[in-house]
């Protein structure tokens, strides 16, 4: 059913009741119907009785429509939105451990940290942990630039997304 050719990345925002087992219902639906999940992140929404699940998936228009409809069938899902169809902001956070001893290596890391507006959150004689956030492309690029210096561990949150405010469309631009 998935047509790889027209396949595009979509970010779905799903509002689901904060009850045990509801997340696995959504995840199970994706695997049972052969949809893929690139990233998934879950957290409280404005109303703490409801969670927001943000899933980045890939597919052609019809596949994405199917995913949305199948998710909407779940009894405890209140709303499914394909954020990608409207102006929106996407962010992902990464914690990256880099091996860099004092001197030029560390200096290089610090200058990249500054260019990418990342943060050093931990440091030892031989390593640093840096925190970066931004859209997927920015985080990917940051990691790629750190790799030659020596990346030893990466943990990424997956995307979260929110719709842009209509009146000030570029107020929160990255």
């Amino acid at each position: 059913m998935q047509d790889i050719q027209d396949s595009r990345r979509h970010t779905l925002s799903i509002i689901v009741a904060d009850e045990p087992g509801e997340l696995s219902r959504i995840v199970g639906l994706f695997s049972a119907r052969g949809f893929n999940i690139e990233t998934i992140s879950v957290g409280e929404s404005l109303d703490p009785r409801w969670s927001r699940v943000t899933i980045v998936t890939r597919g052609d228009e019809r596949t994405i429509q199917q995913i949305v409809k199948q998710c909407e069938r779940l009894a405890r899902v209140r709303e499914v939105q394909d954020v990608t169809t409207r102006p929106h902001i996407e962010r992902e956070m990464a914690l990256i451990t880099v091996s860099a001893t004092a001197g030029t290596e560390r200096q290089e890391v610090l200058s990249l940290v500054s260019v990418f507006r990342a943060k050093v959150v931990d440091i030892s004689h031989t390593q640093l942990i840096v925190e970066a956030s931004g859209n997927k492309e920015k985080v990917d690029t940051f990691i790629e630039l750190l790799r030659p210096i020596g990346v030893t561990d990466i943990t990424r949150t997956g995307h979260i997304a929110i719709n842009r405010l209509a009146a000030r469309a570029d107020a929160n631009a990255a």
């Binding site: 009741a17 045990p20 087992g21 696995s24 219902r25 199970g28 639906l29 049972a32 019809r62 429509q65 199917q66 409809k69 199948q70 909407e72 069938r73 779940l74 009894a75 405890r76 209140r78």
Partner: protein, 577 residues
């Protein structure tokens, strides 16, 4: 952590006058109008069975011999009546044995509520005796399921479960109740105050889109109505008949749609799909407008999707939004109740000439004459198609028929013209062997005066024939017509046609003597082996007052035709051997 949970167990603290979870459950079921439960007891549901015994004047429990049978009986009951079927089984193996039935109900949109016992809350996750993650196992094949965490939640859960089971596209709902919950005494709010904020009524189809659809139908030169189980579920049979008649539209039902439109009606082309009629499949292949009503474009209907109805625009009406665009992208989608849509069509119908579709009908009649359903007769063997024709004759076409899956099912679909909805109860989507007998029993129980016949194969019958004991115990006088060919017939047919006659593991001729088996269970057994005795034997068996098994020894290597091979397009139909 575990110790903490044990302390939380409220069993011993609440005052004795408060109701137990089991009492609340039974009251909630009575409140839903439940008077029939199919089930099988076990450790985790002892409290519930104790309470059920006290409520036996209000709820009749039917003790089955295997949990799969209980679910199929509930399905038969639900499909014969449109009411919600109810099942009660224990934890672990009780729940896993019920899964086949639950999956079957999910595929065929049958409203059932299955209550499963669970180990006490403090043992969940410890690999306790008869513990299984029932909500996890059933999650992909239910509309919704619950693990009850507080006894006070039970009334609300039961109410929502019944609502979900029967609303929208119907389906199964599972309620998993830990043993300590059914024992716990607690206060609960009255049922009238229970609200469920989660479920919304399906949207009404706008009159604009209904109008647009009708315009397309009125302008089509070669329209076909492709109807499915949604017609039956929404009670749209009369509306469909009026609509099709007023425009003289050709109608082709799916397996699940059989009975949704009278098969004997001149507008009916017979079933479409893999074993559909030549005329129905050709009409769809040549159609310029396919009006899909309460269907889901199953692969057994469409064959190869790319060449399905290649010249047709598609109007798709279905209550389940996810069915629309899943397999075939319609040019016009109407998400809503199919009866509402048909009634909207009827209210806007203009006067139209009867003759408009005459050229199309001429073409269709050509296909009907060229390739009617047929089979070659035999002097010394009973042909299975003859058996179904004979059954139709002897029952005046009025019996309620339940079937398993396979060749016998297709012969029933082809040679028993159904005239009313809910007259055929068959395992369509999941294709479950062993469905027929228990489903027939559930239907018989709901409709005591109806002649109910389970048409089964010798393979499927042996998967659930233990329910003969249940049928005898409760005097459910179903007739079981075993089409006995000593083979797993449909698999053998595929092996003959697509695997060079390599009959790999399909010979089941070592079987019990079905007449003796019937008698061992206290039912009556009949057997027909020769064509000349078929009629008398069947007549005697159908007249028998109690449970009757009719072992009909049929031609061993008969094939179901026409046949569109899996994944082929309709024009590659094989019409005969």
């Amino acid at each position: 952590m575990i110790a903490q949970r044990q302390i939380d167990n409220p069993v011993s603290i609440a005052p004795a006058e408060m109701p137990t979870g089991a009492e609340m459950l039974i009251q909630a079921l009575v409140h839903e109008g439940v008077d029939t439960i199919f089930g099988y007891p076990g450790g985790a549901v002892l409290h519930i069975y104790d309470e059920l015994w006290r409520a036996r004047d209000r709820i009749t429990h039917y003790l089955v011999r295997h949990e799969q049978g209980a679910v199929h009986m509930a399905e038969g009951y639900a499909r014969a009546t449109g009411r919600v079927g109810v099942v009660l089984v224990t934890s672990g193996p009780g729940a896993t044995n019920a899964v086949t039935g639950i999956a079957n109900a999910y595929m065929d949109s049958t409203p059932i509520v299955v209550i499963t016992g669970q180990v006490p809350k403090h043992l969940i996750g410890t690999d306790a005796f008869q513990e299984v993650d029932t909500v996890g196992i059933t999650r992909p094949c239910v509309k919704h399921n619950y693990l009850v965490r507080e006894a006070t939640d039970l009334p609300a859960i039961v109410r929502e479960a019944f609502h979900l089971a029967r609303s929208g596209r119907p389906g199964p709902v599972v309620i998993d109740i830990p043993k300590d919950i059914s024992a716990a005494r607690s206060n609960y709010s009255r049922l009238d105050h229970v609200s469920f904020p989660f479920s919304a009524e399906p949207a009404r189809v706008s009159s604009d889109s209904a109008h647009e659809a009708l315009e397309q139908i009125l302008n089509a030169k070669r329209p076909v109505l492709y109807i499915g189980g949604g017609i039956v579920n929404s009670g749209a049979v009369d509306s469909l008949l009026s609509f099709a008649r007023s425009l003289r539209l050709p109608v082709t039902p799916t397996l699940m749609g059989l009975g949704g439109f009278p098969s004997s009606h001149p507008l009916c082309l017979g079933m479409l799909g893999m074993h559909g009629t030549y005329a129905a499949n050709m009409a769809v292949a040549e159609s310029d407008l396919l009006v899909a009503l309460g269907v889901r474009f199953d692969d057994r209907v469409t064959g190869k999707l790319a060449t399905f109805a290649p010249h047709a625009r598609v109007i798709h009406v279905d209550i389940d939004p996810a069915n629309i665009g899943k397999n075939v992208a319609p040019s016009l989608a109407l998400t809503g109740d199919v009866k509402q849509v048909l009634d909207q069509f009827l209210s806007m119908l203009p006067e139209q000439s009867d003759e408009r579709l005459e050229p199309w009908w001429e073409q269709i009649r050509g296909w009907q004459l060229a390739q009617p359903l047929r089979f070659s007769g035999s002097q010394d063997q009973i042909k299975p198609q003859t058996v179904i024709r004979e059954l139709h004759r002897l029952t005046n076409g009025e019996a309620l028929i339940a079937t398993d899956v396979g060749q016998h099912q297709m012969w029933v679909a082809q040679f028993y013209p159904f005239t009313r909805s809910r007259q055929l109860i068959t395992s369509g989507g999941l294709g479950t062997m062993g469905f027929g007998l228990p489903a027939a029993m559930g239907a018989q129980l709901a409709l005591p005066d109806q002649l109910v016949v389970a048409v089964v194969g010798d393979g499927g019958f042996q998967m659930t024939n233990q329910e003969l004991a249940t049928a005898v115990q409760y005097d459910l006088p179903v007739k079981i017509l075993v089409m006995n060919n000593g083979y797993l017939g449909m698999v053998r047919q595929w092996q003959e046609m697509f695997y060079d006659r390599t009959y790999s593991e399909v010979d089941i001729s070592v079987a019990p003597d079905f007449v003796k088996l019937a008698e061992a269970y206290g039912a009556k057994g009949f057997r027909a082996e020769k064509p000349e005795e078929l009629r008398d034997v069947m007549e005697a068996a159908l007249r028998h007052k109690g449970v009757a098994v009719i072992d009909v020894v049929v031609a061993k290597e008969e094939n179901v035709f026409p046949m569109v091979p899996a994944g082929a397009d309709a024009c590659q139909m094989i019409t005969h051997a």
